[in-house]
Amino acid sequence: MATKEYSFYPGCSSQEGASSSNYLKSVQSMCDVLDIKLNVIPDWNCCSASIGYCGGGELPRLALSARNIALSEQHNAGQDIVATCAACWLATKETQERLDDDAGLMDETNQALAEAGLKLKNDNKIRHMVEVLIEDVGYEEMGKHVKKPLDGIKIAGYVGCQTNRPFGIEGESFENPKYLDKFIETMGAEPVENYDKKVSCCGGALAFSEPEKSQALIKDIIEAAYDGGADMIVTPCPVCQMNVEVYQDKINAKYGTKFNIPVTYYSTLMSVAYGKNGKESGLNGQIIKAKQLEEIAAK
Amino acid sequence: MADEIKIGAYICKGCGLGDRLDIGQLEMTATRDGKAAICQQHDFLCSDAGVKMIQDDIDNEGVNRVVIAACSRRAKTDAFAFDNVTLSRANLREGVIWVRPDEDDQQETTQEMADDYVRMACAEAKYMKVPQASGQQGVNKNILIAGGGISGMTAALEASKAGYPCTIVEKTGALGGATAQLYKKIPTKSPYADPEDNGVAELIAAVEADSNITVCLNSTLTNTAGAPGRFEADITTESGSTETKSFGAIVQASGFKPYDANQLTEFSYTKSQDVITQAELEALAIAADGGPIKRPSDGKEVENVMFIQCAGQRSKKEGHLEHCSGFCCSASIKQAMYFKDQNPDIDTTVLYTDLRTPGAGGENFYRSGQKKGIIFTKGIATEVVHSKNPIVKFKDLILDEDVEDEVDLVVLATGMVPNSGQPTRAELTQSDNDDIAADKAGEEREIRIDVESILNLDYRQGKDVPHMENGFADSHFICFPYETQRTGIYTAGPTRRPMDTTQAMDDAMGAAMKAISEAENAGLGKAAHPRVADLSFPSFRAEGCTQCKRCTVECPFGAINETEDGYPEFNESRCRRCGTCMGACPVRVISFENYSIDTVGQQLKAVDIPDEFEEKPRMLILACENDAYPALDMAAQNKIEYSAFTRVIPVRCLGSVSLSWITDSMNSGFDGIMLMGCPSGDDYQCHFVKGSGTAQERMGKVGDTLESLSLEKERVQTFEISITDIHKVPKLINDMAETIEQIGMSPFKF
């Protein structure tokens, strides 16, 4: 198969030394195996995620994503824009839709972009990495590259919110998307059937501002994974990953639970199954170590 | 048809019957016990060859009573359809081999079942006659339409298009009814965004241009006699002249009366000129004709209007209507648009508890209203205070607070009261109203009713079609889609149930189609739903009749009048052929040609009753052919087993069950009797309204009889069975078998 090329929008959290830098690491390893080339959008900026609304009005926020799209059009002409972060994908896709629908906003956005010497055509597809895997690579091809099947690991596929709503993945339902379970199966592991909190909210950015309320949500997400017999949780979203992994000690302290469950990305699973070592798979980025994956990676 | 009875019995060996049963033995049973003149077997009786074999015997051997021993009477009806002969079906497949295990030690009782069913079918054949239409009436294509509103006019136009001449009898001086009083109507066409012209002028023009439609204005029906195919209607004008015309069928489209808003004192309707009904707003809108709508009190242009939904309806309060009138939410949206379309700055608020916008475009219309800026507030109005500007007090149900709003105009969405004529005597006597209860004691005393009759039917049971919930002349949807309880009379529009103009016109179309088919059926002497095309009809032996009148009272369809000398007078085409009259008759003089005291009574006598010591009890099931019998068939299709001691006889309705069948079967040694009818009561599922209820009442009295015979009353039980009870029915049978095992065999075995 020919190399697949995409215009890549990595987003703030995957930068070096940032909270999901390990996500980027494993994505790179995974893409390496699947012969996917990611061309980073030069000089990309923050999308403002879904929490920038206080200071940023509609137009400034749209301008942020518009700048990224315009840069992609300029430097990676004709390539689909791919994001790995749920919020990045959502904000960019949302911008594309809204500007498509509203000529007035499009005009104003272009006036703003002109200040940075840019112009927007807005005709590239905006996609999540998960879509690339499902639609361009396919489960069969994904399975072919498995060198070390993740036998004996039971995994709760936690899809979360923003990879799932409001856009979601083509062909999947909002209430019970199945693709993450299929990823898990394809890598040789066992998905938790009927994982109750598959698409529940972890609190998102409110984990910072409303820690107690968010941790109550996170507690339920982890509890349901344990109830389903999970050894670990896997997710496609950096915010989900961080929120579900890093607060386990605090939740234990407050609720008397004994949570200690690793939370990784789908790309972590895939890198390990594809025979990459622990570092290449981003396993050193785990605060709660994914011991089963480490063992397989070390084999 | 030859006078001599010649039974031909035909036994099928297909579907496993040949493997499971001793067919030779069955053949012997048919000829020896059943007295069949001819008996033949066939590997595949419903095949062309099998059917031809039977037809040949009919044509060449003079067979006039055909007995098919094969599958259920509900199966292969297309194949087993022969002219000018009676047909009896011994149900060996669903009734025997599919409900019994294929095991050697069960073979004997299984074969006994099959033998009995063959005997029973032959016995039935012996007592059946080929039904012939009475010839009471010919085809009369004229359709009478009571009411000249949009429902009546639509019915007339539709029937006329199909070639059936119509006469519209309209009480007022003009066609158009309530819809003619509307400035505009709720939209009927995509995109369902704006009010539409009321369309009445076009309808009237079409009616007037149609030479097939006669319009009688300022006229009422002062007497309607006869039956489908031969209705005789007296059409009387305001001035008093009467013309009598005959009709094949009737559509009653008598519409509704608006609810009397004077009862809504809490909303200051009587005090304030600026509190009006929806109907009154239409008049204001017509007067404004697209200009600003002015309020009645001082002619001020309305800047702020509040619509109060469910005013005096959907409420159990004294004097309020219990039902939802269905059209008023959309009507308020439409009326709010009268204001918004003229001036978008006018504040329009619809105060609702549940917004209901039925119909294809309802939701679109609601959205359109929201887009136009109509404010929808979920709340309950508690009071309208009369002042220069009315003040609406309401409880906001979302914000949970009490609110007062001063507005220029208040519009009350009051509901529909059906114009359905007088309640029947039975309806009145069922009511718990004291006056009427007192009246009931005096039985024959005339009941005074304030409501004017619409049809003035010359029926013993009442002047109008029976009413259902909330006084609407509705049908029972499950059992009579589009039908009323008076054959050949179809209600349409808001007299049937609350509805808007679109629904009323659709309804009228349906009613017209039903009227046409009934006019045709009646002319041929064929029954209407559910025994469609049945030619049999009840007749009675006058010499045995005691003139007790039970048949006339119990007929659910008002089919039986009384002759001048006190005998029942059967109107064949009003009859649905349920047999309730036959079950009611204490002296057993009523019968149908193909369904009588004997066709069932001889079947149960034909069952071979083993003596007490053989320990083979016999249970008789009389099962309603509409629900219980199909449920039994379906249980068989699912191979659910039940006791081999069961013998099932289908009946037209439990209402047709004669007490003589019960006493006869007890006397002949049956150990248990199960009557299976449809659910009764308010949500009845009886195709004949009250057959199962009536049967239960009658069976209530059987207990005493049993006791006098020293028999346990558990031996006779009545059950309510729905067609879907396929797991329940076999269980009930097996429970009955167990009961008999406990209480022991009947002592009446000889």
């Binding site: 959290s13 930068q15 909270s19 390990n22 929490i51 206080c54 919110c161 709503r165 501002s209 | 929201q370």
Partner: protein, 207 residues
């Protein structure tokens, strides 16, 4: 109260719905709510809202301007988008909530001490400065947003997490001095400024 707020009160008088339609992101949709309450029932933090979305929509129609704009409710939105995908009328509820929060902020009448409102402002300031988010500064600012003493307490409480992040290479002290940024800062800032100007002209007619 800001001049803008006074101006808006004056301009729309008692028609708050019109004000929302004209000035709030996706505010045009508010009138289309049919009060089914699915949004309220679908919200992960539903019980913590003083007025769930359904109620806010009704309050807007009822003209309860101050109660709506000063409410902490919109700031409870976690942006999970459950309400959007479940709304039978397809209202973009999440965006309307963001829009209401932003409009209140623009008018200067938002609940200033509300933690999410503070965090959201920090987030914007952080990204607007360099074009990319500096997670370390975002965290530091967050912990100290309620003053120094409170900040030390919060920071101590969160130290375990910060340490874990540092150890796993997912938080870098490099960010304290410099850190990630867009290269074309000038162009980026000019673009934001222009967008803000255009929007302000549309909303309050100023600039």
């Amino acid at each position: 109260m800001s001049d803008l707020n006074t101006g808006m009160v004056e301009k729309y008088r008692n028609n708050f719905l019109k004000e929302v339609e004209a000035n709030v992101e996706e505010g045009d949709w508010v009138k289309m709510c049919m009060q089914c309450g699915v949004c309220s029932g679908s919200c992960p933090l539903g019980p913590h809202w003083d007025h769930p979305p359904q109620e806010l929509f009704m309050m807007i129609r009822a003209g309860k301007r101050d109660e709506v704009l000063q409410s902490t409710s919109m700031w409870m939105c976690t942006s999970c988008y459950n309400c959007i995908v479940r709304c039978p009328r397809e209202l973009p509820i999440t965006h309307i909530m963001h829009g209401l929060a932003h409009y209140a902020t623009r008018l200067g009448i938002e609940p200033k001490g509300q933690p999410t409102r503070q965090f959201a402002q920090l987030f914007w300031d952080n990204l607007a400065k360099n074009g990319r988010v500096n997670e370390l500064w975002l965290g530091v600012n967050l912990y100290f947003m309620n003053g120094f003493v409170e900040g030390i307490k919060v920071a101590m409480g969160m130290a375990g997490i910060g340490l874990g992040m540092l150890k796993s290479g997912r938080l870098s002290l490099k960010e304290l001095i410099g850190g990630h940024t867009v290269k074309d800062k000038k162009g980026f800032k000019a673009m934001i400024k222009k967008a803000q100007e255009l929007e302000a002209a549309r909303v309050d007619g100023s600039n």
